[in-house]
């Protein structure tokens, strides 16, 4: 378990389709994040779904999105 936090949820409907970001869940660890994601975003019949801790997503070209603070670093005012 990685500890309390937000997990971004990605999924695709068919093999070969790109993964797309479909939402997020709050979970106290990896195992519950998997369950919460599957149970929360169950309106579609997904071929594949995965979760990523929000803190592990590193933005490339923008710092003003939900993941911007990861690029700036925890506690960094910049």
């Amino acid at each position: 378990m990685t500890g309390e936090g937000v997990y971004e949820v990605f999924a695709r409907k068919k093999r070969g389709e790109p993964l797309r970001h479909i939402g997020y869940v709050d979970a106290p660890g990896d195992e519950l994040a998997r369950v919460y994601a599957w149970k929360t975003y169950d309106e579609e019949k997904w071929f594949e779904m995965c979760v990523v801790p929000r803190g592990a997503v590193i933005p490339v070209n923008r710092d003003d999105g939900p993941w911007g603070r990861n690029r700036r670093g925890e506690g960094d005012d910049g």
Binding site: E31, V35, Y36, W38
Partner: protein, 254 residues
Amino acid sequence: MTDSAPSPLARHILSLADTKRLLGIRYSDWILGGPSIETGIAASSMAQDEWGHARLLYSMLKRLGYDPFEVEHTRPAERYYSAPALDDPFADWADFVAATVVVDGALSVALESIAGGNFPLARSRVPKMLAEEEYHHQFGAAWFQRLAGSGGEGAARVAAAARAMLPSTLAWLLPGDGLYRDLVADGSALSLDAVRDRCEARLGPTLSAARIRLDDIEPARAGWDGERRRGPGAPAEEAVERARGDRNRDLFVE
């Protein structure tokens, strides 16, 4: 429903169906009021799974000579075959978590016991139910281990809840009576030893987080009701009224 005692297979299926129907109701009580939005959504989804499985199981009884509508909508509480741990509402979130491990886990083992047997409807329908149950198992295991490992009040409460549910649930899962032996003898279900092994494999690792060993738990067989495959008592009337759909019976359309 027929007036005669159920066949071994009918008792098993009805016991599974009623337990799933009641478990769905108990889960649904926590769609609001759990620790987070996500737990409420999970409770809602798990309740739907249980009700869907119950409906499929009730429909299997048609093949065994029962009228599924009569079974679902007309029986009084004292004719329910559900596991006694679900007779009363969960008092708190620790009860909910313990039930996902103990009762939902035992239900999955009981389903596994007929998945490879000689009842064709079980062979075709149960595997999908078990696949859906895997998320219940992961949910229960993660929450149980989290609470049990917290060392605080949560640890004490979830351990106490599991200990309270285990004796009656083990008796329900492992009915060492003639009807169950008949079920095994005709190839419909796994032996009690095999069921016990699967129960240990499924529940044991999670319960160990609260230092609970299944070998130390004595199944509660006092007052055993062989026809209903459970100990004495019955689910609370309010839950049975919801299970039967009494309040809106006049609006029932199918």
